[in-house]
Symmetry: none
Subunit: 89 residues, 2 copies
């Protein structure tokens, strides 16, 4: 049994930061729903506002623990904010 590599996008994304990654609009709207600024969320989860800004703008990919912390602050789950539902493409 062989397994094909489906994760080429990771290294591609890491090399072309800001080019290919799309914005996380779910995060932006979830934050807006809580009426929190980027700095508010950043302080709540213990990172800088630049980090939250970069995540929203798709400049790099956060760690799973940071994603979980953000979700909890915003009252959402990982699937709500970070799961890409692009089943059709």
């Amino acid at each position: 049994m062989t397994f094909s590599k489906i994760n080429d996008t990771i290294h591609l994304n890491q090399q072309n930061r800001g080019d290919i990654l799309s914005k996380n609009l779910k995060l932006k709207s979830a934050r807006a729903a809580k009426d929190m600024s980027q700095k508010n969320v950043a302080d709540a989860v213990g990172v800088t506002r630049q980090t939250i800004n970069a995540i929203e703008n798709g400049d790099y990919n956060p760690s799973i623990n940071l994603c979980i912390a953000i979700c909890k602050v915003l009252g959402k789950t990982l699937n709500d904010i970070f799961w890409e539902d692009d089943t059709s493409d």
Copy 2:
């Protein structure tokens, strides 16, 4: 027929240990359900087997893109494998 060494009682408590090293047993079982080795998953998502091993054993936290890739390989979602459902903050 050989007998394996049963050397610890830790396994009995793995599910509900709140310690530093909380293993990701959901990942382990999802991988077992697909009959894939750590190296199989590693190759499929484009990382080394040490990375998969470290994630399963809770040694460090992967990036969200790697988590998504792992989930897709195993036919699971982020919530299935990486969302911790302990509502006690």
